[in-house]
Every structure is written in structure tokens, then in C-alpha cells.
Amino acid sequence: MISSQFPALQVVLPLMMAPIALIVRNPRAVWMLTLLVTWMTFAISLSLLMQVLDGGTIIYRIGGWVAPWGIEYVLDKVGAFVLVIVSAIASIVMSYARRSIEDEIPEDRIYLFYTMFLLCLTGLLGITITGDVFNLFVFLEISSLSSYVMISLGRDRRALSAAYRYLIMGTIGATFYIIGVGMMYMMTGTLNMADLATLMPAVADTTVIEAALAFLTVGICLKLALFPLHLWLPNAYAYAPSVVTAFLAATATKVAVYVLIRIIFTVFGGVHVFQALGVQNILMSFAIMAIFIASLMAIYQDNVKRLFAYSSIAQIGYIVLGLSFASETGLAAGIIHLFNHAIMKCAIFLGLGCISLRMGRVTIKDMYGLGTRMPWTMAAIVIGGLSLIGIPMTVGFVSKWYLVRAALEAGMWPIAVLIVLGSLLAIIYVWRIVEAAYLKPAPENAKPVSEAPLSMLLPLWVMALASIYFGVDATNTLSIALDAADSLLNGGLQ
């Protein structure tokens, strides 16, 4: 049956289509192709999630080679959930992309964008599904290299230096990761995650493994932009084409978080690295610093894309904070926020893309009076903003609820207080936008602005409504997250 080949197809499909896109070149045709691929991967990942929820972990041996000699694709609940997030975001973003890309990227380079997008998608899906730490590195590089190119396609010349900076930082991160992998290989002789997990306890006390963990953590934290390793992110998000920002903000950092989860809770699952090596305290303190410092930075930004880029860094802080409790509730809070934040940030950045299409750029000043001139776009952005604050009936509320609960369960009430204080900072930066759009009159000499085209509004509103829907009915997503957290803490990949 074809469905048994889905795990491979998921990755191979976008990978094979990328060169075809390169050959076709016609912007419209390439877009159609990419759109088709993204929706197909979305369908496949949904079906995979169903399979995993029904029948447990899927193991797919590439070429029939048994691990640890061959490469395995392993899909458990967390992985399947992240796959759905990535492919869903990709398909929504692609549905939206055509007009925005035509506007922001010169016509002769459009096919390049779609090719890179497909490659990036391949990489992100591959990272999520693979059960092999080296194979993960390969996919990590595929996604990173293609995202450098996508960012550099931004029309602002500063996009080039932003992409360059990301390239440097990203390469350091990947290098650290591969050094860590090498050390683990040296000590255990395997690259398969499940295998590593069983062999790790025997060698856990060695300095080499401790060093490996340090390299892995720092490398991954560079990719997921945990404070203070976030420096590449604000400019990359601010100057990349709007579509790229929306896609990367919702997926790339999330997948990096997923890698962190995999390394800590699967590969090092048997050795409780958290408590033993103080990783817990380190991650927790940096996460809290991320929440506060990045939120404060966000308050002072005039470029709205930069503002929400800083907000992303703060939100990543929340996710990492959830993981660092290493409890079921905490881990579930992290996983659910990974999903929730992907939805709301995607909505916000898609909204900013609409504004960018009409206004040419997105600073606070450009937003004056937009509340009446682009009512639908602004309303969607406000919904995303309310969700960032954590107002009830939005997804953000669900995340905050579980994060606070996790902190209280762990007996760390000061952290619970810090979490809610962080939300208060979000009120400030979100309300700067609200006031600019609704309470400032449009400038006298403003050119007439119409609402964004329907092809962009529709995907935007799908995301905005999703951030309400999954906030009102969070039982399904939460039970997946709780299940996933449970299986991560008590059993690993098997």
C-alpha cells in the first residue's frame, strides 16, 4: 500500500519537485507546482498523524536496511504533530504567496524563491521525521542553506547582510551540532537515536559526553534563537520577503525546538541530563531572560516586522521554559505553545505582508489609520496580538494556562509570576500597534489604500480563525500534546 511509503514520500516529494521548479521557471506554473506539493505534504502528514495516534510509533527503514546500519525514519506523536504544523503552515503560506512574491521579488528570481522554498520544506520535514542524528544534520543544512537564500531575496539591501549574518551564526550552530554528534559517535559507535538512547547511560559520566551535550545544546539553541544566541533573528525576519518571514517564524525555529526536545528527552532520555548537568537551570534562566529582554526590545521597535521578530524570541523563551520544567505539564505546555505560537505568528506576519503589499513597508507610522483603511487585515493582526498577550478564547491563553500550571506544580511560583509579567509586556507592544492603527488618523498626504486582495486575505483569516478555534476548543490539541509529553518522558522512541 502506498500509505506505508508515506514517511519517505513526505520528504522525497518536495525534494524531487525542487529541481523541476528550477527547470520550469515560469512564475505562475512554479507557484502552482509548489502549492500542490505543499497541500500534498499536508495531507500526507495528517494521515501520518492519524496512523501514529491509532497505532503508535511508525518506523520506516530506508532501503530496507535495518538500523543501526541503515537510516531509519521514526515518527512518534511529537514528530507527527510537528510534521502537521510545518506542512500546514507551508500550505497556508503558499496559498497566500503568489501576489506577495510577485510584488516583493523581481520576476526573474521568482522561480528561485519557490525552488528554495521546496528545499527548505524538505529539510524541515526531514529533520522532524528522521531517527538518525547525522541524517538530521544533513536536513538541517538543507533547510538552513535554502533559508539563507530566501532571506537574501528581500528587496531591502539590508536583507543581504541579514542573510550573511544568519549564515555565519547558522553555520556555527550546525558545526557545534555536528561536533556533538561526532563525540557521541566516538563514544557509542552509533548515530541512530534509539540506539544512542540505550547506549548513553553506560557512557554518560564521561567528559566527552558532557562536552557533546554542551556542543549540541549550544548549537541547537543558536538555530532556535534562544537568548542570547538570537542576534541573527531580528534582521533576518525584518528584511526577508514577507512570505519568508511568515514561513520561517512559524516553522524553522519550531523545528529547532523539536530537535532540542529530541536530543534532551530521547537521545539523552535515559540519563536525566537535566538535573545532573544543570542544563535545566541554564535553559530556564535564559528562557526567562529571553521573555523579558526580547519583550522589552520589542516595545522600542519602529519597524513592525522587527517588533514581532523580537516578540518571537520572547515566545521561544516561553516554549523553552516549558520544556525546562521537564515535567509532563511543562513539556506539554512547551509543545502546545510550539503549535499555538506557529499559528498566531503566522497570522501576524501574513497580515504584515498584506500591509507591506499596499504600503511598501511596515513601520509604526505606516500603520496610522489603517484600522479603517484595511479593516480585515488589521482585525486579523489584532486577533494574533490578543493571542500573544494570552487573552481567553485565543490559543495564547491555552499556552499560558498550562505554563503557569507547570510552574506552580513544580513549586516555582516566582516563575509563574514572571510568566504573567511577561504577558503584560506583550500588552504594551501589541497596543502600540492597536493605537497606531485605530486611534491615529491617517496622515494628510496619504495615498489612497485599499484592502489586500482576497487571495491573501483568505489564508490570513484561516490562520486568524485557527488561533481562535484552537483557543476555544483546545481539548484535541492538548490531548495530543499531553500524550506526546507523556511518551517522551516515559519511553522515548519505542
Partner: protein
Amino acid sequence: MSPEATIQAALITPLIGAVLISLCGRWPNLRETVTLVTAVILFALVISLYPHVLEGVRPSLVVGEMLPGLRVAFTVEPLGLLFACVASFLWIVNSLYSIGYMRANKEKNQTRFYVCFAVALASTVAIAFAGNMMTLFIFYEALTISTYPLVTHAGTEKAKRGGRVYLGILLSTSIGLLFLAIVWTWMIAGTLDFTPGGILEDKASSTIIGVLLALYMFGIGKAALMPFHRWLPAAMVAPTPVSALLHAVAVVKAGVFSVVKVVIYIFGIDLLSVMANADWLIYISGFTILSASIIALRQDNLKRRLAYSTISQLSYIVMATAILAPLSIVGATLHIAAHAFGKITLFFAAGSIYTASHKTEVSQLDGIGRRMPWTMGAFAIGALSMIGVPPTAGFISKWYILHGALDSEQMLAVAVIILSTLLNAGYLLPIVYAAFFRKTQGEHGEAPLPVVIALTLTAAGTVLLFFFPGIFLELARQLI
């Protein structure tokens, strides 16, 4: 219609109203008819639950599960029904008033105004009927968000600043303190359902109960307990119908309603009187009563003076609840209704004066009673109710509060009530005196007819509640 279906209808009606209003935006007459009809239907639905509740039935409705183990659910009990009755009845009157006020003052964006109003009322009814603390919190926040556009209605720099304070304080207290308290309660008790007798018995130490109580009391910022009261004067920048219905009735009453609800159904009166020392709440609310009255004395802007008066009157309810005596709880409940009628009358009068003469300051009101006899007559009745003089509703509620305080020998509370009565008289009666007995100035008549009708109705209500307190008293008695 079954009570369950009625609850459902009562929750949905204002929302349908909001949609229809926004569709009728181009035809003002139709739009305002829709508002009025929606308000009347809502009131009819709410009042139809009254006999059931009086018989001891507690109809409830479960909408669905939001988080695992936490459902969005509604239960109608006496306190909530009383609040819903008051709010939905006054919405009818207020809609009438709005028509006169908004048209006479040529306000912009009237459709948005009426839509937000309907959404705010939907949230209010949902708060009143909330069956657990999470449901209450959801609509508590919805009320904050839906009233923000009303506060900043004018769109001026001043409105923007007012809106900032409004939203800043209400959201910070609710997210920073109340949210924390709710999650904590859920973790300790394993449930958030409003249960007679409370859900925290034998679940936590008295220290934790004390901390939780503080988180709840200050977290419910809408109750305007000092030092989180500044949002209320800031909200006065809104058009007067908003100040009248929302910032004298719906929003602030949602605050004190939540306070009473938390004390009765989350902590339980018995638990609080045994375990936690709730005396500090009496001190804080007593301090709020007195200092807000003193600040009110010095306000020249009429609406600001009324706002500080509201802060002080809200703390009556908090203090009465904190006394934890059965009679004072009855008093607190009655005061929700009594103050609502009295204060909305006062705000109506303030708006009426503004509409007819564009006067906003107390010092400009000399002799205005002769030009606007209806308005100032109603104002006088409202003022008497604030002070607690018969024959007005304020007397009844104050009587019960005082009785409860004496019963439980809370002499400090008694002293506060007596002192504040003097202060209330001090900041309200001079206005009445100046209006009727000083020399008149300026040329203008009464406000538009709908405005006058509305304020006459609420003034009449204030007096009627004195003679027929039964309707609310029966409900309040069921609480203890």
C-alpha cells in the same frame, strides 16, 4: 421554553443583536430599533428565569470542554440572576437614553458604538451566568476588550490616554493576579465550579488561602479596590451612556459580582471565617470608601466626581462581603442593584446637562435645576440613594450592611459607613443645592425627550426599589 434553552437564548440574543446592528449601520432608525428590541428580548429572557430560580432550581448549560477537564458552563443562581436582571433592564433604558444623547451630540461611529455595547452586554450576561471560574474569567476579559473601543470612542489624544489606563490596569490585574489565582485554585482544588460552601475546604493551608484571597481581591480590578482604581476615572472620557451603563452598572458590577461570587462559591464563607483572616479586606475597602469620597469632594468635573463616588460605593459591597455575616452578604447583593439604579440616574443627569448646556463642571451648575427640573429632580433622588436616605433603594442595602456589621461586631466597618454617609452628603448635596437655590445663568431648556424619559425611569426605579425591595430581597435571601 426550558430554562436551559432560555440561558442559551439569553447568551446569544445580544450577539445576534450586534450582528444585526452592524448590518443596519446605514439606517440609524432601524439600527436603534434593533438595539431596543434586542434589549427588551434579553430582559424578557432573563426575567423568565426568575420563577425557576426562586423555586430553588439552578438551571445549567454546558457549552463544551475547552481544556481537558475544564468546561465552559453556565449555571443560573440567585446572585447571577439578580445581576443579569439589573444589567439587562438598565440596558433597555440606556438604549433609549443613548438615542437621545448620541444624536443630540452628533457623535461619530455610532454603529460601532451600538455594536460594542451589545457585545459588552453579551459578556455581562455570560459573567452573570458563569458556572465556573474559568468561564467567568473568559467573559471578564471579553468585557474589558469590548468596552475599550467605547472608552476611546472620541479618538482624541485624551481618549487614547484614558484607554491606556483603562486597558492597562484592567488587563494587568486580571492577567497578573486573577489568572494566577485561578490556575492555582484549579491545581489545588481540581475543579473551578462554583459550589455553595466553596471548593477549597481541607485543600490548602491558611497561608495559601490568604494569598489566594489577596490575589483574587486585587486581581478583580473591575471592583476598583485601591490601589487599582485609577481606570475608572480614566474611563470617564467615554460618551456618557457608556459611563452610565458600563462604568456604573455592567463593568464595575461585574467586578464586585465576581468578588461576592468568589467569596461565596470558591472560598465559602465558613472557610474564610475560620481559616483566613479576612479583616485586612475590611481595612482596605474601608480605606477605599473614605479616601475615594474625600477625593470626590475635590473634583470639579461632574463625571469624575461621580466616578470616585462609584469607587467608594463599590467598596461598600466588598466590605459588606468581607464582614462575612449573612445579613451583610444580603446587603452586598442588594447594593449591587441599589447602586446600579442610583448611579445610572446620576450619570444620566450628568449627560443630560452636557447635552442641553455643554456644561461639565460642578461649578457651572448654579440654578440649572430651574431650567432642567426633571433632570435635576432625578439627580436629587439619585444623590439621596447614594447617601442612603429613605425613600430610596440605597437606604435598604445600607441598612442590611450596617445590621450585618453590628451583628458581627465589626465596629470599624460601622464607623466607616457612618463617616462615609456624611462624606457622600458632602459631595452630592451641594450640587443639588446649587442647582435649585442659586441664581441661574445661561439660556437652555431640558435635554431631548428620550434622555428625560430614561432618567425619569431610573429615578422612579430607585424609589420603587425602596417600597418593593422584595423582588431582589427574595433572591438575596437564597444566598445564605
